[in-house]
C-alpha cells in the first residue's frame, strides 16, 4: 500500500491539510503536494484507463512526462480535461475525475478490447471495417470515436472566466531549467553582466541533485541551491521564475515559455527574444520494457525517489527495484532508509559491484545480478514479480512477493528545445542516448548556435561535468552579448562513483512472444513491443512510418517516455543500428500548452480591436443597425421605431433622391502620397494619370494588381505640387497602403516618395441629395456654389468654424459633397447636418450606387475582373508606357470574349437572387451546366419601384435586349433582360447640378 510516511518530505507542510475529491470520494493531502503525490498518499493506485485496451493505469512518473495520470480537474466553466497529476499542485476543494472509463474506474466496459487484443493488432483498423461499404461512416467510425478520446469534452456553452496574458522580453541569456546546471549557468552569465532570465518548470529550485544525494562545495546540494538562488535574487540583471516552462524554440532564437504565476492570471505566455538559450532541461528516466510493466504500481525509480524525498510518500511497502545502472540503487537505498522494504534489486548487468550496489548490499538489500523481470503478478494490485535470467527467454526462476516495482532504465537527455528549430542529434553509444550534435545546432539571428546545452540535457551524468558544462554555457551565453565580466569559478561537487550502465532495451533479452505481447512501450496509447515488431514486419520501418502505424510516441507525453525504447525495438527488429533508425522530430510545445494561453487577452470583446469612427456614439443614439466592415463598425441602416430594415432603406434612399442625406464616410481609406517622385509613382499605381490632376481638383482612379485585375478604386485629390490624397475603399485602406509600400520598398526604393495612411485623422461625411448645397450653405463659412466648387473639385475652408476640406464628388448620382474635418471635430458638423438631413447607412449607399450603375469593389469585382470588363476603359491611360497591371491586361485572355458589366431587369420587377448564374446551352466536358453570366449586385430600387441588378454577362454590352435565364438551386428560374447598367439619371443632370 502506498501511504504517507511519518517523517520527511521536503516539499510538504504537514500542518496544512488540503481537502479534495477523487471521483466523488473525499480525500485529504497536504500543502505542497502535487495531485499525484496526494493520490499516492491516499493509496490510489489506479488513476486512469489506457487509450486502446482500457487497461487500468497508475502514476508512472513525477514530472511532465507522465503518460497515465491524466485527470479531469475542476467543474463547470473551470473544468480542464487531461490535466497531468504529476505537475498540478493540489488545491483546496479540487474536484478530480478519472478519465476514459465507463461506467467507473474500477469496472470498465472498454476492457473487452484488452480481452480481444490479439484480434486487434496494430493497424487493424486499416485492414478492416470496410464492409459493408457504408458501414464505416454509419457504424464503425461512430463506435471508434466513442471509445477514443481521453478526457471529457468541456460542455458546449463553457465560458472560461479566467485571465491569460502575454509577456514580451528581450534577454541576453535565457536559462531553461533551474536544476544545479541551470543555477550554475545563470550564476556565470549573471556575474558576467548579462541580462538573464532563469525559468524552472517545477515549484522548486535545484532539480534532481537534492534528491540524488549530490554534495556541492562540501554541503548537501540543497544548501548550495539555496545560496545560489539567494545570490541570483540579489542580482539586478537576473530574473527568476518558478512554475515556468520553456516550451518552444523558434527561428532566430525566439523562445516561448509558459508560466503558472501565483498570484496572477491563470497562465502567462512569455515571448522571449534571447541572444542565447542555455538548455539545462535535465534528463528523463526511461522505463524498462518487461512484461507487465504497465501495471499500476510500476513506477520509474526516480519518481519513487521523488515522491519519497519531496512528499514523504511511498508507492508501496515492499518495492522491487529493477535496474540496469547504479543510479537506480539510490531509490532502493532511500526506500530502506525510510524504513520500507526492498525485497530484491533485479539488475540486468551480470556484474554489479559499484559503490552504490555495494552500499545497498551492506544495508542488507538482496541484489540479483544478470536478472530480469519475467512478469508482474496482478490481482487488482501488484502481488509480486517473477524473476528470470536477463540472458534467457523468460522462464521464471523465482517469485518475489511485493506491492510495487521501481524501474530504472537509464536517462535520456531532454533535448527537445534543441530539436524544435532544426538542431540535430547524434546517437552516443557510450551513454546510449541521443545528445545534441554540436556540429548542427539551431542557429540564432547571428547565424551562431542559439542554444547552448548544459548539464544532463547535454548528456552529462556526473555532477562535476554537469556543473562544468553549465558554467561554460553561462559564460558563452554572456559573451555572445559582449558581457565578459568575471563569471566566477565553477563550484566543486562530489557524489558516489557509478559503475557503467547497461543499455537494456528489453527484458529478458530473448523474451518470447507471449512476454513481448505484454510489454508496453507507450503506456497511454497501448503500444507494445510486438506492435512495433509487426509494423516493421509489414514494412513500416522508417521511424515515422512505425510511429504513425503504431501511434507510438503520439500520446500526450509525445514520446517522452516511449521514444527511445520504441526506436530500440525498431532497431532490434530491422537489424539497423539505433543511430541509423534515427528519431522522429520533436515539435513544440515541450509540454502541452493551453489554447487560451495562446489566445491571451484577445478573447471576447478584445478578440480584435473594434474601430469606431468619431461619429460612432451618434449612430448608436440614432439606433443604427451595425455592419462589421473589416474591423470597423458601420451603420447599415437607421431603422426607426416600427420600421423594418427594408422600410428604412426605402425611406433613406428616397430622402437622398428627393431631399438630402448624410453618410458617415470616415472609414474610406485616406492615403497621403508626397514627394518629388510622387507623380510618377501614382502614375504607376493607378491605371490613369494622377500626375495630370490640377491642384484643387480630384479624379476617380483605379488600382490593379500585377495581373491586371482591379483591386481598388477611389477618388484622388491633388493637394499640392508634390502632394496627393488617395481615397480607397474601406477594406482597402491598409491593403492599398501596404501595396504602395511594397512597391516602393522592393521595386522603386530610390524614388523619393512618402506614403502615409491618414484614414483615422479625419472624420468624413457625405452630404448627398438635391438639397445638399442648400444645407451646407446654411452652415456658413464657405462658398460652395456651383461656380466656386464645380464637380470633381475640392476646396479648403471653415464650416461652422471647423477647418474642413470639401470634396465635390458623388457616389450616389446626386448632387453631393464630402466634408473631411479633423476627427475630433467632425461631430460638430454632423450634429448640425443631422438636424435637416436624413442619416443613411451602407445598405442605402449600396442601393444608391447600384441605381446609378456604379461598381463596388468586392461586388462587381472578385479578383478576376479587369477594368475593361466594367466599362471603365475611360479610366485607363492607354498611351501610358506602363502601370501596374498593364502587362497583365495585354494577355491573350484579357481581350475578346469576356463577361462584361450590364444591367439586368426581370420582367415582373422581382429582385434577382445575388450570385445567380445565367445558364447557357448544354453542359461542358465535365458535365457541368454551361453558364454565360452572373448577377453581381441586386437590390430593390425604391427610386424605380422595382428590382434592379448589375451583372457580368458574356459579351454583355453587345447583347442589349436579350433575355437570360437564371436557374436557381431549387430548380426555379428567373428571367431577366440585358439593359444598360445605369438605371437612374443616365444623363447625369442631377450629379452635375
Amino acid at each position: 500500500m502506498s501511504t504517507r510516511l511519518g517523517t520527511g518530505g521536503s516539499a510538504i507542510d504537514r500542518s496544512r491539510p488540503v481537502h479534495f475529491t477523487f471521483d466523488g470520494r473525499r480525500l485529504a493531502g497536504l500543502t505542497g503536494d502535487t495531485v499525484a503525490s496526494a493520490l499516492l498518499a491516499n493509496g490510489e493506485r489506479v488513476v486512469g484507463r489506457s487509450f486502446k485496451y482500457h487497461r487500468p493505469r497508475g502514476i508512472v512518473a513525477s514530472g511532465p512526462e507522465e503518460p497515465n495520470a491524466l485527470l479531469g480537474i475542476g467543474t463547470g466553466d473551470r473544468f480542464e480535461p487531461n490535466a497531468r497529476a504529476t505537475t498540478t499542485p493540489l488545491r483546496e476543494g479540487m474536484a478530480l475525475r478519472s478519465q476514459n472509463r465507463w461506467p467507473s474506474l474500477a469496472f470498465d466496459v472498454g476492457v473487452v478490447n484488452a480481452a480481444l487484443s490479439r484480434f486487434l493488432p496494430v493497424g487493424f483498423y486499416y485492414k478492416t471495417f470496410m464492409w459493408p461499404r457504408r458501414f464505416w461512416e454509419s457504424v464503425y467510425e461512430p463506435l471508434i470515436r466513442q471509445a477514443a478520446g481521453l478526457g471529457r469534452a468541456p460542455d458546449a456553452e463553457t465560458r472560461d472566466p479566467d485571465r491569460y496574458e502575454h509577456f514580451h522580453l528581450h534577454v541576453d541569456v535565457l536559462v531553461a531549467g533551474g536544476g544545479i546546471a541551470g543555477l550554475q549557468s545563470a550564476l556565470a552569465a549573471g556575474r558576467a553582466g548579462a541580462q538573464v532570465l532563469l525559468m524552472e518548470q517545477s515549484p522548486h529550485w535545484g532539480g534532481r541533485a537534492q534528491v540524488d544525494g549530490v554534495r556541492i562545495e562540501g554541503d548537501p546540494a540543497a544548501e548550495w541551491v539555496a545560496r545560489a538562488v539567494a545570490e541570483l535574487e540579489a542580482m539586478p540583471n537576473v530574473r527568476l521564475r518558478l512554475n515556468a516552462t520553456v516550451v518552444g524554440a523558434y527561428d532566430h532564437g525566439w523562445m516561448l515559455a509558459v508560466e503558472m504565476p501565483e498570484p496572477g492570471p491563470r497562465e502567462r505566455l512569455w515571448k522571449i527574444r534571447a541572444r542565447r538559450t542555455v538548455m539545462a532541461t535535465g534528463a528523463l528516466e526511461r522505463p524498462l520494457a518487461f512484461a507487465g510493466n504497465d501495471r499500476p504500481g510500476v513506477m520509474l525509480a526516480s519518481a519513487v525517489r521523488d515522491n519519497l524525498m519531496r512528499y514523504a510518500v511511498s508507492p508501496g511497502d515492499r518495492t522491487v527495484l529493477v535496474t540496469a545502472n547504479d543510479d537506480g540503487y539510490r531509490t532502493a537505498i532511500a526506500l530502506v532508509e525510510a524504513g520500507l522494504s526492498v525485497p530484491l534489486v533485479v539488475d540486468a548487468r551480470p556484474e554489479c559491484n559499484g559503490p552504490l550496489p555495494r552500499r545497498a548490499r551492506e544495508m542488507g538489500i538482496r541484489v540479483a545480478p544478470g536478472r530480469a523481470i519475467a512478469g508482474v503478478r496482478w490481482q487488482r494490485r501488484i502481488t509480486g514479480v517473477d524473476v528470470c535470467l536477463q540472458a534467457g527467454e523468460g522462464s521464471a526462476l523465482e517469485h518475489v512477493p511485493c506491492d510495487a516495482v521501481a524501474m530504472a532504465g537509464g536517462w535520456s537527455p531532454a533535448v527537445h528545445l534543441w530539436s524544435h528549430c532544426g538542431g540535430r542529434l547524434r546517437w552516443d553509444e557510450a551513454t546510449a542516448a541521443f545528445r545534441p550534435d554540436p556540429q548542427f545546432p539551431p542557429t540564432g539571428a547571428d547565424g551562431q548556435a542559439a542554444i547552448l546545452p548544459a548539464g544532463s540535457a547535454d548528456g552529462h551524468s556526473r555532477a562535476v561535468e554537469v556543473l562544468a558544462s553549465a558554467h561554460r554555457a553561462g559564460v558563452a551565453g554572456a559573451a555572445a552579448a559582449a558581457h565578459e565580466g568575471d563569471a566566477g569559478q565553477v563550484v566543486t561537487a562530489e557524489e558516489g562513483a557509478e559503475a557503467p550502465a547497461l543499455a537494456v532495451w528489453r527484458m529478458p533479452q530473448s523474451a518470447d512472444h507471449r512476454l513481448r505481447a505484454q510489454t508496453f512501450l507507450d503506456f497511454q496509447n497501448d503500444v507494445k513491443l510486438t506492435d512495433v515488431e509487426l509494423a516493421a514486419q509489414e514494412g513500416y520501418r522508417s521511424v515515422e512510418h512505425a510511429k504513425r502505424y503504431t501511434t507510438l510516441g503520439m500520446a500526450t507525453d509525445q514520446g517522452k517516455l516511449s521514444n527511445i525504447n520504441g526506436l530500440a525495438a525498431l532497431s532490434h527488429t530491422t537489424g539497423q543500428a539505433i543511430s541509423a533508425v534515427g528519431t522522429t522530430t520533436f515539435r513544440p510545445p515541450y509540454t502541452p500548452l493551453t489554447l487560451a494561453t495562446i489566445a491571451g487577452q484577445a478573447r471576447g470583446d478584445l478578440f480584435q480591436p473594434v474601430r469606431r469612427t468619431p461619429l460612432h456614439a451618434r449612430h448608436e443614439a440614432l439606433g443604427a443597425a451595425w455592419e462589421p466592415v473589416g474591423q470597423w463598425r458601420r451603420p447599415y441602416v437607421y431603422p426607426k421605431a416600427g420600421e423594418t430594415v427594408e422600410d428604412a432603406v426605402r425611406r433613406e434612399v428616397l430622402a437622398v433622391r428627393s431631399e438630402v442625406g448624410i453618410l458617415d464616410a470616415t472609414t474610406l481609406g485616406k492615403i497621403i502620397v508626397k514627394g518629388p517622385d510622387a507623380a510618377q509613382f501614382l502614375d504607376m499605381i493607378y491605371t490613369g494619370r494622377p500626375s495630370t490632376i490640377a491642384e484643387g481638383r480630384c479624379r476617380y482612379g483605379l488600382i490593379c494588381n500585377e495581373n491586371g485585375f482591379l483591386i481598388d478604386d477611389g477618388v484622388v485629390a491633388r493637394l499640392g505640387p508634390e502632394t496627393w490624397l488617395c481615397h480607397t475603399t474601406t477594406g482597402g485602406a491598409e491593403r492599398i497602403h501596404a501595396h504602395m509600400e511594397e512597391w516602393l520598398q522592393t521595386e522603386w526604393w530610390d524614388w523619393r516618395v512618402h506614403v502615409l495612411n491618414v484614414t483615422e485623422q479625419f472624420g468624413q461625411i457625405a452630404v448627398a441629395g438635391p438639397l445638399a448645397r442648400n444645407l451646407l450653405e446654411r452652415l456658413g463659412g464657405m462658398d460652395l456654389s456651383r461656380e466656386a466648387l464645380p464637380f470633381m473639385h475640392w476646396t479648403e475652408g471653415r464650416l461652422m468654424d471647423v477647418p474642413v476640406r470639401v470634396f465635390r464628388i458623388s457616389f450616389s448620382g446626386e448632387l453631393s459633397f464630402e466634408i473631411a474635418a479633423p476627427a475630433g471635430r467632425a461631430g460638430e458638423i454632423w450634429d448640425r447636418l443631422a438636424q435637416d438631413a436624413t442619416p443613411y447607412g451602407t445598405e442605402t449607399m449600396h442601393v444608391l450606387r447600384a441605381e446609378k450603375g456604379y461598381i463596388m469593389i468586392g461586388d462587381e469585382t472578385d479578383g478576376t475582373v479587369i477594368p475593361q470588363d466594367l466599362g471603365l476603359n475611360w479610366a485607363i491611360a492607354k498611351k501610358k508606357d506602363d502601370y501596374i497591371g498593364k502587362r497583365g491586361q495585354m494577355r491573350l485572355h484579357m481581350a475578346g470574349e469576356r463577361w462584361r458589366l450590364v444591367g439586368l431587369l426581370t420582367p415582373d420587377g422581382a429582385v434577382l437572387p445575388e450570385g445567380s448564374l445565367a445558364v447557357a446551352q448544354g453542359t461542358n466536358a465535365n458535365g457541368q451546366r454551361r453558364t454565360q453570366g452572373r448577377v453581381t449586385s441586386a437590390y430593390w430600387s425604391p427610386t424605380l419601384g422595382r428590382g434592379i441588378a448589375l451583372g457580368l454577362v458574356d459579351r454583355g454590352p453587345e447583347r442589349m435586349g436579350e433575355t437570360l435565364s437564371f436557374l436557381q438551386p431549387d430548380g426555379s428560374e428567373y428571367r431577366a433582360e440585358i439593359v444598360s447598367p445605369v438605371f437612374h439619371d443616365p444623363e447625369g443632370e442631377r450629379l452635375n447640378a
Binding site: N82, P121, T128, R152, L534, E544, G731, H846
Partner: protein, 415 residues
Amino acid sequence: MSRYSALRIVREAMRRHAGWGRAWGSPEPRRRYKVVIVGAGGHGLATAYYLGRNYGITDVAVLEKGWLGGGNTGRNTTIIRSNYLQDPSAAIYEKSRALYEDLSQELNFNVMFSPRGVMMLAQTEHEVRGYKRTVQANALQSVATEWIGPERVKELCPIIRIDGPRYPVLGAHWQPRGGTARHDAVAWGYARKCSEMGMHIVERCAVTGVRTEGGRVQGVETSRGSIDCESLCLVVAGHSGELAQMAGFRLPIESVPLQALVSEPIKPCMDVVVMANTVHGYMSQSDKGEMVIGGGTDGYNAYTQRGSFHHIEETVRALVETFPMLSRLKVLRQWGGIVDMTGDRSPIIGRAPVRGIYLNCGWGTGGFKAIPGSGWATAELVATGASGPLAADFGLERFREGRFIDESVAAGVAH
C-alpha cells in the same frame, strides 16, 4: 499480396500475425522505367496507381527522397470538400471527392473517408454573398451544397458560439458529404496497390538532376544512381521549383510554410468540419479525439518545415473565439509543411516546357482532398500525352494567357 479483411485478421491472430507481409516492397531501383514519378506523396502515388489501373502502365518508379507520405500528405489537416466556385476546380475536386467515397474498397485499405460534412462559416455580409454565390454555382456543377442559417449551424455543431461579440455567425456554406480521411492511410493504401501491380516505390532516393537532350527528357540523377525514363512526372509540392530548375525551366510557384496543430484528445464533441475564413481558422476532431487545427500560411517563403509562432497565435485566437469551450484544452503538437502556391491559388497539371516532362504541383494549402482526382487526371496526361477535360484548364499556359482559375472570391474587399 494478400487481401486485408476481418477474417484474415482472425486467422492471423491464431498464428501471432506471422503471416502479414510487407505493405509495399522496397526494391533496388532499376536503370530504366517507362515512367518515373518524382515524389511519393499522395499525388505522386495516386498518379502511379491510376496509370496502372486505367492505362495498364506498370513500368513505373516513384522516387521519394525521404519516406513515402512524409511531405504535405502526411502533415495536413485532411479536409475534403469540393464546394469550389470556379467550374474547373469544382470538377476536379468533386471527381476526387467521389473517388474518396469508395477508395477504401478500391484500395482494400481503410482510408477512413468520413463524410461528416464541412461547413464554411460566413461571418461578414461579404462572406454571406460570396458563399451564396458559390452555392448557386455548385448547383449547376452538380456539387451538393447548401446555404444554412445560424440555427442550423448551431444544431450541426453545438460547440460553436454563433453570437460572438465580434463576428457573429451569419450562416454557412454546407457540404454534407465533405469530410476527412486518414492521411497516412491514403498514401499507404496507394503505395500498397502500386507495389502489388509491380511498380517500384523507391524511398530514400532523392532526385538530384534531370537529364535532357534536344528539349526532351532522358532521365534523372538520383542519390541511388542514374535512371532513364521516357516520361518524367514531377509531383514534389513545395520542391517543385527546385526540380524545375534541375530541368532548366521556372515555375510560377512560391514555397511557404503552412502550419497546423492538434490538441490533446477529448471525447467526441464535434462531428463536422468547420472552417472560419474571416477569423482564419479551421478545425475538426479526429477519430482519436484530437482537435485538428489549421490556419493561414506564413508570410515569407521558406523550405523549413516549421513556421513562426505568431501564426499559430492568430489561428488559436480565432478558434477560442469561435469555440470558447476549447479555452482550457491544450495543444499537444504543432508542425508545418511547405506548400506550393501559385499566383491564382489553383494547381498546375500539364506539360512542362521540356518534352516528356509532366507537372503536377501548385496544390498549395488544399491538395489532400484532390489526391484521387488529381492522380486520375495526371495519369491520363502522362499516358496519353494530353490533358483530358478534368485537367484541361490547369495547364501552365494559363499564366501566360491570363486564364486564371481564382478561387479567392472571399478575398475581395468589403465597402
